[in-house]
Every structure is written in C-alpha cells, then in structure tokens.
Symmetry: D2
Subunit: 350 residues, 4 copies
C-alpha cells in the first residue's frame, strides 16, 4: 500500500536526523534557552526579512510541538474572556481540534466558506454586525481573526486578498493570526504571489509549520506585534507546549532553515501534487477545490476509487453524489517520484 493520506506519514528529512545525532550528547539548558533555538530564531527572522532589525520591534520567535497546541496557545493568549475568534467554518480550530479553543473559554465564530477562505468583506460585515448589535453585551464580541495559509482545502490567499483582510482587522483593532501549519506548501504554489516577508508584515502573529514539512514535529510562532509578546513563554508552559529538551525544536528548525531546505521540501511536494493533478485532469477527473498546493481533492467514480484503494490510500473527504466520492491526495517533502508514477500508471490503466 502506498499512502497519500496526509503529509505526516514519514519521519523527517535526513538532515534533521544527522543534526540530532551530531548534537546528541551535548549538554544544553532546557525549555528553548539553548544555542540551537537561538540560531533557529535568527535563521527564521532572516527568512522573514528581519535580518537587520534590532531592538524591541524585532519579532519574537517561539517553538511549540504541534499545531493544535500552537493555535490554542496563541488564541487564548490574545482574547479577553468575552471575545471569540473569527474563523472560516472549515477552519482547523473549528472542526478538528476537539474544541480546544472552546476549552480555553472562547467561541469560534465560524463564517461560511466554500473554498476554505474568508473574504475581507464577510469579515467586516460580521465584525460590524457584532459591534453595532443592540444587544452588544449579550453576544460574543470578535477579538481576533484566524485564517490558515494554505487553507484546509489546499487553497491560498492572494496578496490582495490577504491585504484586504488585514486592512479590515486594523480598521477594527482586531489582530490577525495566520495558521501556517502548511505555510511552506502555500509559498511554494505556482500561483502564489506572497513572500514569507509579506506574510509576516500582513498579520500580527503567525506560525511556520514544521511537522508537515519535513520535521519530526515542531511549529515556529512569529510574533510581529509587540502587544502580544509579553509573557508568551508563560502561555506556552501553561498550555503544555514547552518542551523540556527544547533544543530538539531548535535543531530541527536550524536544519530546515539552512540553505533553504524548508522551501525545497515544500516545492517538491507541490510539484508532485501538480503532476498527479495534471495526469488526472487529462483523464477528465474533476476536483472538489481548485487547490494549487500539496493537497488535491479529486472526485472519483466509486468503482474507480475502489480499484485505486487496493494499492493506494487517501483521505476520504465527502460523497459528492450517490456514485462519486471526493478524496484528498496529499503529497509531502517525502513523496517519492516512483510512487507518483505508480499512481498515475495504475490510474491510466484502469
């Protein structure tokens, strides 16, 4: 069985293992206060375009273990008790984190979305409806906006779309948080017109996902807005995200951000997804979402899917009608070219 279920099926890129082995017996302080975390922070800041910056306006970089933990820590650190977070109804925080946000006391204010994205217009409309509600104190007030880049449907925001959302956020004084669990795959998309620096400048806080892009685990939170820096390490510790051997996170991000490895790995995944997509499209397969990243969502006739499923596994997404099913095919930094070819060959021969 060749698996295309998700982008966390394998271990990690060998460069990370090499560095883990090399540093294994060094003694370092715990909790992220070691030289590898320090170096990783520097490399990430450089990649985000803050190379020359000094002083209190330099963003802070923090390392956490996983995505749900990161989303929860960030959101709970920002909101006041009566506030909620605006998200697309498809947002990971709304549907796949077992109510982690609510567990910290806050409502996820889910707005409708077909493709996984929010629009500036709908965000503004919702904020206005809350702020101007004659029952102001009886309803949850929005305290921040959450988007994912790429979204859970593999789609990405253009520079103008993201700028428009951030403009709305600033107009109403709401911070914007970007969930970058798959950030690399979004940046690597052919149609993407945003750089990492631009992402960093178009939000208040975001994270760079490691888990799904070649690391064993790890997410790097970048806080660009000074207002949210204070005591963030306390938040990490309280939410169970402060790794005792914090250097493991530093080491991984050092490896990923040396010589642009992170971006190369992401590029590979997007390229392989594109190959599958092209091959399927050539055979007339339709897709549930128009996604330019490492997640694609072909709609197969059920009898075709049954045959494919003998050799390949995918994530079930939804039944599109009685005889068709949309699945998610997910490539990654580790997807082998030969496996792609096997999939395409097999499909072409059905």
């Amino acid at each position: 069985m060749i698996k295309f279920d998700c982008d966390y099926l394998e271990g990690c890129h060998p460069a990370i293992l090499d560095l883990l082995i090399k540093t294994n017996f060094e003694q370092t302080d715990g909790y992220g206060c070691d030289k590898y975390c320090e170096k990783a922070r520097k490399l990430i800041l450089e990649a985000c375009g803050f190379a020359g910056k000094r002083g209190k306006n330099v963003p802070e970089v923090h390392f956490l273990v996983g995505g749900t933990q990161t989303n929860t820590t960030v959101i709970a650190s920002i909101l006041r008790p009566h506030q909620g977070v605006i998200s697309a109804v498809t947002g990971h925080i709304n549907v796949h984190e077992t109510g982690a946000i609510e567990s910290t006391g806050h409502k996820v204010m889910a707005l409708p979305s077909q493709d996984g994205k929010l629009t500036a217009k709908q965000v503004e409309k919702h904020i206005k409806s809350c702020v101007n509600d004659c029952n102001y104190e009886h309803i949850v007030q929005p305290g921040m906006v959450y988007i994912s880049f790429p979204t859970e449907n593999g789609t990405i925001y253009s520079k103008s779309e993201l700028s428009a959302i951030y403009d709305v956020c600033r107009k109403y004084g709401l911070p914007l948080f970007i969930d970058g669990a798959r950030l690399g795959y979004g940046l690597a998309a052919e149609e993407n017109d945003l750089t990492l620096s631009e992402i960093a400048s178009l939000c208040d806080i975001f994270y760079i996902g490691g888990t799904k892009t070649g690391a064993l685990f790890g997410e790097a939170v970048v806080i660009t807005n000074n207002a949210f820096k204070k005591d963030f390490r306390c938040m990490i510790k309280q939410r169970g995200g402060m790794l005792a051997k914090g250097r493991l996170l530093g080491i991984q991000f050092v490896a990923l951000f040396t010589d642009g490895l992170y971006f190369k790995l992401a590029r590979h995944a997007v390229d392989t997804a594109e190959k599958i997509k092209t091959a399927l499209e050539a055979k007339g397969v339709k897709f549930l979402f128009d996604s330019p990243t490492n997640q694609i969502f072909p709609i197969f006739p059920d009898e075709i899917l049954e045959k494919l499923s003998k050799k390949f596994s995918f994530s079930f997404w939804e039944k599109t009608d009685e005889r068709h099913t949309a699945v998610r095919i997910c490539t990654s930094w580790a997807t082998k070219d030969e496996d792609i070819e096997k999939l395409i060959d097999f499909f072409n021969r059905i």
Copy 2:
C-alpha cells in the same frame, strides 16, 4: 410610550410582593435551606405530577437567579471536557449569552433552524455523524441536547416532536435539557398538547422560568435524572447562582405555584398576544414565525412601523426586505388590556 419590547418590563405580581412583606423580618437560614424554598419545592413537584413520590427517584428542585446562569450551571455540570451541547443555531445559549457556555470550556454545536426548533431527525443525523467520524477524537463529541420551550421564536414542540427528540437522546445516551425561561407561556398556548408532567417526563433536566412570568427574578431547575443530582448545589455556588437570601426565590415560587397563579399569568399573556395577532392578521399583516405564545413577530412596512413607534416600542428583529421590518411584540403577565386596545386602535387608524 407603551412598551412591548419584552416580558420583563415590570416588577412582579403583587402576590409576591405581599409575601415578601409578610415574611420580611423572619429569620431564616441562607442559600435555599429555608422553609419557603422547601415549600416551593413541594408545590413545584406537585405541579409536575410527582405529588406522591418518595425516595431517591423524586426529582430535585433548585432555585437560581437568572436564565444565563441557569443554562451555564446545568450544561457545565453535565458535560465532560471534550463534549459540546447540541442546540438550534437560534438557541439562547448560542446567541444571547455572551459565550457563557464556551466560557466553561464547551462548544455549542449549532444546528440550522428556521423556526427555532430542532427535529429529532436532524439531531440523530448530527449525533451519528460525530460518533462515526473517522476523526472521532479530533472533533467535539455531543454530550447533551438543549432545546427551549417555547423557542426564542415563540414556537413550541408538540408532544410527538418532543417525544421523538427524547427517543433519539436516550438511544444515544445523551441527556436532554429543556430551557423553560418562558415555559408557562408555552404550556398556555392554544395549540400546545403537552402538560407540565409530560414535559418533566420527556427530558432529564429542565427549568421553570420565573423572571419572565411574574417573578422579580428566579428560575426553578427540576432534575429528574438521578445521574445529574450529585453535588448540583456545588455547581450553583461555583457559578455564582446561589443567592445568600435564598428564601427570596422560595417565596416567589410559593406565590407563583399557589392556586395555579403561574398558569393564570401565562394564560393572560398568551391571550393578549392572540388578540393583537388576530387584529393584525385581519388587516393583512404577515408574521415572521407562526408562534402561538406570548411573542409574536409581525412584519410591518417601514412607514407603518415608524408611525407605531411614536407611541409603542417593540424589539427590532430583522429587516425582511428593503421596505419591511419584522419586530417582536411581547406580552406578559402584566400587559394591560387597555394597552392592547390602544395598540390595536392606533394600528387600525393608520
């Protein structure tokens, strides 16, 4: 200005004030451990059809101050951390309690509804989709079902509808909680086919609203399912709902449940609402919801509404199109016949 905005515009029925005055200088224990609370519990149990019951299966009756507090206390006392509460999207807990449920760590799982009601079918479908989800532990699992009777739109469940929902709840082991903030007005509706006893037997826990039916304040929670009785008083105290001078709640419910006063007051409100409805319908006015209780939702042309608003006030509900507006007219135990006549006369003369 004659106000029809809501059913808590006035103080309380004079019988309550009389009893407060009469008992004012008596010394009683605090926190609901007094003879008036004791008597009120007995009267409520009788009204619910438990007159002869003895032993551990007799429902518990607890008194709290207000509705949001009651909903929060009940729901938080039942759910485990990873569970949510199923509610109509229009449910009070979902839209008008400033995220109180979420503040205790739980998601409100809002299902679509046009008229404010849930159907047994949609509840079952939703429960099944959660329980059978291949990502079971990544999603919020339903832990109970919340409905309001009457709903926030003034509609009521029939006996067969409520029975069907409760059957689904028992099939999946989920407790059913009925928010009875306006319970009396629902029972008093012409088309209602449920008795208070039947309500009590078709759920696990519910409350009888006092605030909106003639009391100064106060809600009486009735716990019929033994599983939810343990330490409920601790929950009330923790959520800030345990009144020091608890007897004030007992005294009010004694007055309301003596000689069926509660039901008479509710009947009066429903009758007056019906009179207004009949008068408006006679003039061709349409209604947003088909509600048989004390809340009615006429749709007025904006120029008519403007004229009405010089003498009468209502709750704005929604714009139904560019030139029409739906408002809520709410009658209560305290609505005066002469005010109803003034409204109808004025409307007829426009």
Copy 3:
C-alpha cells in the same frame, strides 16, 4: 431561637420594599439601563466623593446580584491566562466560593494570615519572589491583589496599611481589588480611619455590598481605573450576573444611598456587636480575633456554649482547644436591641 449566624437572615430594610412597591408597575428597560440604576450610580459616585467629576475619568458603577459572582467577574475580567490573584489564605475567594476563581482558569495565590489581613511587606515579598524566580515562566505570576474590607475575620485595614499595600501594587503594576461585601460595617467601625472616598482612591476597583447591609441582594462595583472599564458589562453578562430586571438593583441602591441609610444601617450593626462584646469581655470572655465590626468571635467553654445554643444560634468557627470553641456572632442592620439584651441577660445568668 434567636439567630446571630450571619448578616443575611432577614429580608431587607422597609425603605427598599416601599420603593419596590411604588415602582412595581412602571415599565423600564432591562439589564441595568433604567432610570433607577442611573440614579443609584449617581448617588454612589457622590458618596464616593466623585460628585463633581465629568468625562472619562469618572468611575463606572455596575450592579451585580451576589458576592461570589462579583468577585469572579471582576477577577476574571482583569487577569491574563497565566496570572493568579494574591489573597490572604482566609480570603473568601480562597475558601468559600467553591473554586469559582479557579473555574475561570486562575490560581488563588494564598498568603498566610492570622487576622485575615495581608501586609504590604508580605505582598511585596511574594511578588518579588515570583517576578525574580529563575523559573519565571514555570510558575503562576501574580496579576492582581485581592483584599476584603472588612476581612472575613471582621478586622479592618487602617489608612496607612491600605496605602502601603496600594503603593506596592502600583510599584509592580498590579491592580488592587477590594471585596466590600461588608464595606459599610468596616466604615462604621469605631477604630476605622478610612472614608469611602479614601477607599475609592486607594484601589483600582472595589464593590459596595448590599446583600449583607440591608438589601435583598445586590453588590455595586466601582471601577476607578480606566483600564478595567472596557466591556465590563459583557463580563457581567457572561458570568450570569446581569439581572434581566436590572432596576431591582438600582431601586435598592437608591434606597440605601438616600439620606445615608446605608451608613446608618451599618452603624447600628456595629453598635450592637460592640454591646455584646463589652458584655462578654466584662465576664472575661476572650476573642479569637480583635474585630471592631459586626462580626465578633468569642471563645466559649463548651458547656457554656451548649447552654447558649438552646436559645441562640451562631456560626461555628473552630475548636480552640479540647474544651473551648470559637463561634462567630454576627449582627446586622436588622438586629433588634431586645434580642441583644436577651443574649446578654441569658449569658450573665449562666
């Protein structure tokens, strides 16, 4: 049985009942947006010495139903997730609110106290130990200081003691919150050297208790620090403290703060407590705390207590040794002179 268990044994001062009756059929807006709340706010601000103030620096006054609710709402509205509230170990929030503060996510940082009071020195020492801890992010950081005036042991802070604590709070940027559930009784104490205005100027937020000083229920929160005003009504609603018929709170505080009634009632309770104390001291009775307010804590030989308990009831406080017990005798605005005399006579005749 004549009861001295607590100061919420009776209903309310007749002036309040009179005003409730007089206003009963008026129609007013809900949730504290009525003319009686408005008037009560004005009267309270005047009593606090803000009579002439205008603009954004005028304190906000909010009305809640009970003490636990008020403490929870205030504290949860101020703290960030990783912060705790410093309190005497005897503080009401630490021992008698069923973990309400913790239920909102925050630790009560309990400091030792014999008499119920904190000292500026111990508060400063504790804050410094937290701020300077080498494990800063691993420990709860203090986010505010809570004291009660009078304390749960009936003791009060002198002006210099309170000033010293507030100086420490400002030095470290921690807001000071005063729980004034029995504020009136503290202000009325013979040895008290603080005015209500001074209280208001020596903290960031405090409340004036109504429940224990002649009201049916009700606490008036006064927010003097602008930083904590924003959206406080949302907090009240979320915590279940926003009374639908909010005017009931306004009406009661209007009555209490008209012609200084609040202070007269408090004075009466303190005077009667003083009479009992003097009589007991004359007979050689010792006291657990040196309290100048309406709560006194005599230590009785058990055989004396047994005899007293046939006619009078008190709150058990603690066994001081195998043959002696400390109880709390609590007088109130409603304590009758004849009952005091009966107690003293009976005691003298034992």
Copy 4:
C-alpha cells in the same frame, strides 16, 4: 562546564536514535495508531505485569509528549467542575506548571509537606474536613489525589505508605494518580520496595516518564481503572498532546522497554548520584532531603559553592541560612562516570 542541573540536558539514548533512523521512511498512520505504538503498549503492559490479561480490564496505555501536558490532561479528564486535586504543596502541579491545572478550572488543594510526600493520615483528615464541612457546597471538594513518585524532592513512598494512601482513596471514592515523570529513578532506588506491577495496582492511573529517562520526550499514561478510559484520546487531542507523528512516541518506548533498557538507564543515574552522595557525606556535607534517587540536595557553604560553580552547574534550591545554600545535583541516564569523578576530585581538593 559540566552540568548537573537536571536530567534532560542531553538528547536521548542511542538505541532510540537507531530505531528512529531505521524506521524513518516507513509510512505509518498518525496520532498513535501505528504498529510501533501498538508494540510499545504491549511491552509496557508486560512490564507492568499485565502480560496475560485480556478483555476490558486490560489497562489502556496512551502516549503524550510532556509532563505538564500529561498532568493536565489526566486531571482535567477526571474531575468534575467543583472538584479539586489534593497534592503536596511541593507537587509539580502546584508549583511548576504555570497554573496549568487551574487553567482547566480546578483548584490544586495543596497540603503541607517537608519531604515532598503526603501521608495517608493527612489526606484522610483533609478529605473528611471537606466532606463534613457545614459549608459543603461553598468549598472545593476533593475529586482525586495526586502524588509524584519519586517526589520533586527525590524521595519515594514505601509500599506500606503508598498502600495506606490508596486505601484512603478507595475508602472515600477518590482516584489516585501517580506522576511518574521520574518513575524509573524511583524504582531503581536502593531502598525502594515497590515493583512497577505494584505501582500499577496501587493507583487508578499513572504515567511512566520518558523525557527524563533517556527519551527525547514522551510520557506513557497507564489507565488501570476502567472508569477513566472512556474517550481519553479526545482529552489528549483537546489538550494539544496528540502528536501527529505519534509513532515517534511508540518508537521511543519500544526502545526503552526492550531488554529492560529503561530500568538500566535509571539504575545508572541512581548509582552515580549515590557515588556523589557518599563522597560528599564523607566530607561532612549535609543534605536538605534524604533522597535515594537521582536527585540529591547537598547544602554547601557559599564559598565552597562559589568555587564549585566555576566548573560545575547545579540547580539552585534554597538558601538554608545566610551562609549556606542547598542545590540540586541531578544525574541521569547520560551522566558520565568521568564527570562524576571530576566533581568528586574537585570537591575533595577544595
């Protein structure tokens, strides 16, 4: 600088790295549903003495990333809202987790302790005082008992001490949870008379710490009481503890529980700590606690400590008087014999 600050200074035992490398490119399902987690569960159950067991009474084994996360997940999954967890005042959950337990809504009920241990007697006394309190519903009720083995002071419970505590727990229906962050080091202590099987049978839930005993990270929760198994994976996910590449946890525990590696590593640390202790005692050094595990707490004259600190680092513990300081020396699975000798030599030559 040779560091003895803690037991998480290095990476992991090479056997773990080897297995990570060997399995790196295998494709496995995420979230702990892979064959390595399956195998690790089997190995752990065998080590706990459940080798032959079948059916629903077989304990469940779950893997989480770190200790704070594990403590929080376990405790929050068991307690009802009004309940707290009994702990020694020195317990990790009380002092070093940034209020993580409180963040889930629960009070840590801290009982005094000199050596880090609770006694059955004090636990029973506290439970009884809560259950019998005349203000039952006004106080936090104990919902479970937390102990650490070994404690934060390096001490361990004897079989009779642990049995006595568990007897009390069962008598009052409170589950017992053992924090085994350093479990191996406790089991390896010379004076220890408990086996892993006995630990497993003398509590309801416990965990076997990997992070501090040779793993990169990871804690294995063993749930022996059926009552706490239901939906535990949902709890893990909600608290951010469910690792996407869950196999990393399985792989590490497979390595640790193959051929008794876990116990060998622990033994090594305890032996080296014992060597240091013996050497220091020979020179008359006193210790703050009488700890038989890998943490020892010598009290040094400050001038000696100053000299030592030029070559070696320790954890500061406390000033014992004006001229003496207690530090923690922590050995681990990775401590080198030569470093021990250097420390002893250096000390002997001062």
